[in-house]
Symmetry: C2
Subunit: 232 residues, 2 copies
């Protein structure tokens, strides 16, 4: 099917959610037009195609939009041949979906909360939540990987993409706040996995340097400060 499809992706280079989609498209060997969005000045196309959330990524397939990274990953996996993204066994697939939801609903708001926190106390609370969540994910790795090197077995799969997309942001948080979310003492399995993920061809293609995330965080903080001052 690859090659004949009209695929366009509205994205943002530092968005983990966009990185997930780019990794999936790459794993399926699909070509696509990539359009960088400016989230400080969203395009008419983005607002039209994702009126509910007004967020990237939006994948446009033969003119039809698909939104939300986990939905897009499953769509791409179900529609296109090539390397499987989700596990093929139904029970393993259910387990992967369970942990993807956990990463999305618990881990993600926690670490993004560290960035968004307006006071030290709030930041400390979000750090605590992030570290508690990542310890659950450490246990998940042991269960899902079955002794293999990735969540997905011997190669990158759904959960590797879902969690791996956060890693350069975790490195940015280390540089900004000295925080080690994944480390060899508390989460040794994930620490080894993160090394492998970072060294993989799939990640190297689309994951930016952590500096880009630091720069984007500074831009967000500056914009929030301006907003605060102008609303006073």
């Amino acid at each position: 099917m690859a090659g004949k499809e009209d695929l366009k992706l509205l994205g943002l280079l530092v968005s983990p959610f966009v990185i997930r989609v780019r990794m999936a498209l790459s794993m399926k060997g699909l070509n696509y037009e990539y359009v960088e969005e400016d989230l400080f000045n969203k395009s008419e196309l983005l607002l039209k195609l994702n009126p509910v959330h007004k967020k990237v990524p939006v994948l446009i397939h033969n003119g039809k939009p698909i939104c939300e990274s986990l939905v897009i990953l499953q769509y791409v996996d179900e529609l296109f041949t090539g390397r499987a993204i989700l596990p093929t066994d139904p029970y393993e697939r259910a387990t992967a979906r369970f942990w993807a939801a956990y990463i999305e609903d618990k881990l993600c708001p926690a670490w993004i909360g560290i960035l968004k926190a307006k006071a030290e106390e709030e930041r400390a609370e979000k750090v605590k939540e992030t570290l508690a969540a990542i310890e659950h994910v450490e246990v998940a790795f042991a269960k899902c990987s079955n002794g293999n090197v990735f969540f997905g077995g011997d190669s990158i799969g759904y959960l590797d993409i879902v969690l791996g997309s956060f890693l350069f942001w975790f490195e940015a948080l280390r540089r900004m706040y000295g925080l080690e979310i994944i480390n060899t003492s508390k989460t040794p399995l994930l620490a080894a996995w993160a090394e492998r993920f970072g060294g993989s061809v799939e990640a190297k293609e689309v994951v930016p340097e952590a500096d880009k995330a630091v720069q984007y965080a500074n831009k967000l903080h500056a914009a929030a400060a301006v907003k605060l001052v102008s609303s006073e």
Copy 2:
């Protein structure tokens, strides 16, 4: 496959999330052992099988647990023959997953927030969020149903189950706070759909009377009051 399977469900009669699973199992013609949990005194089995969230529903299939209602629905649909729960077309399936996530992430915390609110101001805020979210779902119904009577077409499907499981709680909120979340003026499509859903065989089998939800809410409020008093 039905009949040979060992299926056990840890549930709670007034839980919308459990109702979803019971509807899905029923649509597949599957027999299962139902075990009512007491969430004020959770069983060892529940804590062992869902150590992360410690919540119902937990479906135990041939000894293996599956947690989280949306994950279970997809598992049941993928594994068992019988009536399809999710749409079969990949784009329609992506759309259904998008709206299921919206209902779960935006609508659900909003209406549960109405119940949990400790002050009138907080309750008013949650009412506002609930009404904003349901208006989005009204638009979703027009798109997903394609002029048919259910989200899933001419019979109940994934989104019907996901949203329909809330309806008796919406009725409970009407009785408790005079609040009409779905009504003929603002959400006429959903109002007509809710009538049809309530009258369906699938719903009648497992959806309790709204009074049961009111009673459970009173029990939760009483427990919260006791907790508040005892922590003073």
